[in-house]
């Protein structure tokens, strides 16, 4: 397994986990093409197929970060080439607003990225995952769980934090 | 005029201090006329030419980067202008490569740090003097400054290599911006197929046989097309074609007698300045005869006769998608 502590010692022996949301028509197929072309990339991305980046509910991004992901990568068709005309523009605006909002909460915008790849761009898909992995690796783990642990006494067993 | 507002950071380079001082003088005179402000980088160093990169690349990039770092500290717009093509390429390449290759950027900046300097890759825009003249000033404004048309003088526009290659946005094989500039000044511009071929560069020092042949090709082509002068924009090109012209004639038994002039010198002439204030006289092959051509009524037809036959097939237009009849 790749050693991510070279980017940030906080990784120890674990690797970043990135949740991907890939649109059915372009980037999911780009990921398929990366596969058929045997383009290697870090095993950090765990992806979810959605029909369009327009389906991307910011809740999913927050959920992923909250549930332990270190980054979220949303990929769709290039602007102007959305299978559903304009879904990717909506994603672009939502992600921009989400990034600003999350930045106020201390989440670096690099942890939530939006990128484009057409069905033919397995190479771009691969490069995007590599770049995102490196950026997230530099930022270090998200550590949300640790973040919510309260050191105060009077915590009872079984009571959620 | 562009966002630079006519103010630029200026990198003259070593040649302009010595062998190409005519270029330096004429550049300054022309810049003054065109209301361009050139703020020279304080204490700039050599760009390394092509030689330093052959010895050790990282120090070579660092050498250039020192100039970039100093340039970024110089006041004015973030536009760095260099009149020498080799300096221009080295500055531009270092700037681009540092922006493109992370490791290089990091190492170069680490070296700069030893001299208490830092350069943000890509923060400057490196440009050649000719680009400033044709893009920022523009043909129209230059045309308005022409008081003494160069009509009657046939010039071969010679770009050399480093202003169009490897990737400067101009046509890498057949640029025409110097052609247009010369036309704006009133000169007759010959179709010059060798316009972006090599002047020999440092080969004069390494292998004379190779260098003289390269110089011969250019001179022959200019002579074939009846040029009165070759107009250039690079000290190295000027030096090789001018200073070695006699050697070439001796080696090949030719009798080329073509003066090699800087475009700024011809701009100055067209703007009504005297040859003396533009550094004329420092060329080895005298420009007198070429300058004497100015003002002649009609240059004699020396181009190849064009066939105007009704059977002729249409010729594709060089620019754009249309066709023209030959």
């Amino acid at each position: 397994m790749a050693d991510y502590s070279q980017f940030n010692p906080a990784w120890g022996d674990r690797a970043p986990v990135i949740i991907g949301f890939l649109c059915n028509w372009c980037s999911y197929r780009a990921a398929d093409l990366a596969g058929t072309s045997r383009f290697g990339y870090p095993a950090t991305l765990r992806d979810i197929r959605i029909m369009c980046t327009g389906r991307l509910d910011p809740t999913f991004v927050v959920k992923a970060l909250r549930e332990g992901a270190d980054g979220v990568l949303v990929m769709g068709c290039h602007p102007g080439q959305c299978h559903y005309e304009e879904g990717n523009y909506k994603a672009m605006r939502r992600i921009a607003l989400l990034q600003r909002t999350l930045a106020q909460l201390g989440v670096h915008p690099d942890r939530v990225q939006l990128a484009w790849a057409s069905a033919a761009q397995g190479g771009i898909f691969t490069e995007t995952v590599k770049e995102m992995t490196e950026k997230v690796a530099r930022l270090g783990p998200m550590q949300w769980r640790d973040n919510l642990e309260e050191t105060a006494p009077h915590q009872e067993e079984g009571v959620p934090l | 005029m562009t966002a630079s507002n006519g103010a630029y950071v200026y990198y003259p380079g070593c040649s302009l201090q010595a062998s190409a001082h005519a270029y330096d003088i004429s550049t300054k005179r022309v810049a003054e006329r065109l209301n361009l402000t050139f703020n020279e980088i304080d204490d700039w160093n050599c760009c390394g030419a092509t030689e330093f990169f052959s010895i050790n690349a990282l120090p070579a990039y660092s050498l250039v980067a020192r100039n970039l770092a100093l340039a970024a500290q110089t006041g004015g717009a973030p536009e760095l202008v260099a009149p020498c093509s080799a300096c221009y390429l080295n500055l531009r390449k270092t700037n681009d490569y540092m922006a493109k290759y992370k490791k290089l950027n990091q190492q170069v900046n680490q070296a700069l740090a030893a001299g208490n300097l830092h350069y943000n890759a890509g923060s400057l825009r490196v440009r050649h003097l000719l680009d400033i003249v044709v893009q920022d000033v523009g043909y129209e404004k230059i045309g308005a400054e022409v008081t003494r048309s160069l009509q009657g003088m046939r010039v071969a526009p010679y770009y050399g290599c480093l202003i169009v290659r490897p990737d400067t946005g101009y046509n890498t094989e057949y640029p025409t911006h110097l052609d247009k500039l010369m036309t704006t000044l009133g000169a007759t511009v010959i179709d010059f197929p060798m316009k972006t071929h090599c002047c020999g560069g440092h080969m004069t020092q390494i292998s004379e046989a190779v260098a003289y042949e390269l110089i011969r090709r250019i001179l022959k082509n200019a002579a074939d097309y009846g040029a009165d002068a070759i107009v250039t924009l690079c000290p190295m090109c000027q030096l090789n074609l001018d200073v070695y012209q006699g050697q070439v004639n001796r080696t090949f038994g030719t009798d080329f007698n073509i003066p090699i002039l800087y475009f700024t010198q011809l701009m100055g002439i067209a703007f009504g300045m005297t040859p003396q204030e533009l550094g004329f006289g420092s060329e080895v092959v005298s420009a007198d005869r070429a300058l004497a051509q100015i003002g002649r009524e009609e240059p004699e037809e020396r181009e190849r006769p064009k066939r105007k036959d009704k059977q002729a097939l249409p010729m594709p237009a060089l620019n754009g998608g249309g066709r023209s009849e030959s």
Partner: protein
Amino acid sequence: MSEEKVGVYVCHCGHNIAGTVNVEEVSEWAGQLPNVAVAKDYKFMCSSLGQEMVEEDIKKEGLTRVVVAACSPHMHEPTFRGACQRAGMNPYLFEMANIREHASWVHQDDKPAATEKAKAIISGAVRRSLELAPLEPFRAPINKTTLVVGGGIAGINAALEIAGAGYKVLLVEREPSIGGHMAQFDKTFPTLDCAACILTPKMFDVGNSPNIELLTYSEVEQVDGYVGNFTVRIRKRARKIDTTLCTGCGDCWERCPAKVIDDVYESGLGYRTAVYRPFPQAVPKYPVIDTESCIYFKNGRCKACEKFCPTGAIKFDQEDEVVVVNVGNIVLATGYDVFDARRIPAYGYGRLANVFTSMEFERMTNASGPTDGKVVLRDGVTAPETVAIIHCVGSRDKNTNVYCSATCCMAALKFAHLVKEKTNAQVYNFYIDMRTAFKDYELFYTRLLEEGTHFIRGRAAEVTDAARLPGEEGKLIVQAEDTLIGKQRRVPVDMVILMVAMEPRADASEVAHRFGIGCSDAGFFTERHPKLDPVATMTEGIFIAGTCQGPKDIPASVSQGEATAARVLGLIGKGEVQIEPVRAQIDEDRCSGCRICNNLCPYNAIDFIAEKGVSRVNPAQCKGCGTCVAACPSQVITGQHYTYDSIMSQIEGLLYDVRSPNEKVRVVEMEPA
């Protein structure tokens, strides 16, 4: 906890998955997941034995959900949905976990990580499967009329095949006549038979088929609908000719005083008039008036054509006409553009008179071309004594197009032969690699070798008129490295032919978007599968044929045209189509009518019902993208099959190993007092 029983099947895909992912470990691990009743691994899940295993388990074990961890859903989702359906399970309760394209094939250098990722993917799929709901596909009848776009050799063959089977075809062509690039050619390789002789009978058949409606000088402007039921808007550009009166006699173009260079049919090498018929065998036979070059349209005078037209067919005031038609299937055969040789300035095209493109040369050798088939220099009279043919102009070049244009080597050989035959000139071919695949092509190459054609293995570096050596004056000099001897060569010639690349049409990506299909990186239309589904696209009911899919020669274009016909006829034969029931639904009881969703829908499927103060989705117009689902601020729009819960569960599943524990979900509602 849910009571669903999930079956998980981990496919080895031979070594494709098993070579990287430890499938036994993964399957054993999956068996421990909550709700998983069965977990197995198997060599080839898509084999009939694999499918039968799933079917059997559904019946025997009472599985209510099935997850197959194998390849991309784009590959085998339909396969396993079929298996589930055969066993009586609703196919939409099936979920695919892509551990091949998205794991084993891309993490070959980190096998432990690939195995761990496969587990996460399966965990996500299992969690998602629990939230899936049974759905029924929509069924719709297929309109039996087919639209073919593009009247080149591929489109012509597609149209003739479908029409021949007895169904209506609408053939739309942008130019005034069908025929495409093939109509410009004189000879075809390797047999050297005459292009016109084999093409014009087919064109004639198209013009005369009762089942083909031909719309030339027309373009598709808009496409709506889905497989079986497309609505297409076509603009018929005004020919300024009343085709009911025109007899194609030719009086108009013979009298027309406006002479312009014909950039399309003559590739710029010849002329046409402002009112013109592209070529004598044009189908339909009617001319068009090119209003840009017509003197009357420029300054209001002339009208020579009108004066001389014996039937009064010239109609200067004719306007464009827009027709809307309904079709069931669409075949795109929009062809290619020719590479603009000016983009490689080293070859001097446009500057050096005697540098020609291959398309210009096609017209030059054509007996009905501008030189009546004579091979001459740009002056129109001088025959060349030496000719250079430069291969790969705009092909195999990262600065222009990286792909091989596939046909140029053979076309170059054809040209070399024709030059020899017509002028006996010396011919030099500058090539990188000779590519003469396919039947009898290599024989043709051998024949050219026998004819004494020179082959220089080296990509031409430049073409110049700068003479350097004696003997070069007045010539074009082709400079190249002869790589077989490792030396530079300068070959003085009279004429240079540039074998220009086939490029995607300039508006290919626009057209692709209009029809809802994709383009490859190079810009050609993307097929559903490069090997096994080469003429279908990602959009059901839209097929592609010929060079719009990629560079190819005439036999390959014809084959694809006919293949699309077979696909279309297959669908027509079925009579109806099934459409994925992925749609959005608004819970009207809980919609507060904020109208956020109203203008998000690209298909205008959302209506605001003012009297009720709620929004509503029209399922016939909805295509299931989910944009409104994501946008609803009160979260009352459901996106079927990609529901909120299914995706949230999949996230939890994917992060099973890093999740924060004990996340509490609360809240049941109560009505106000």
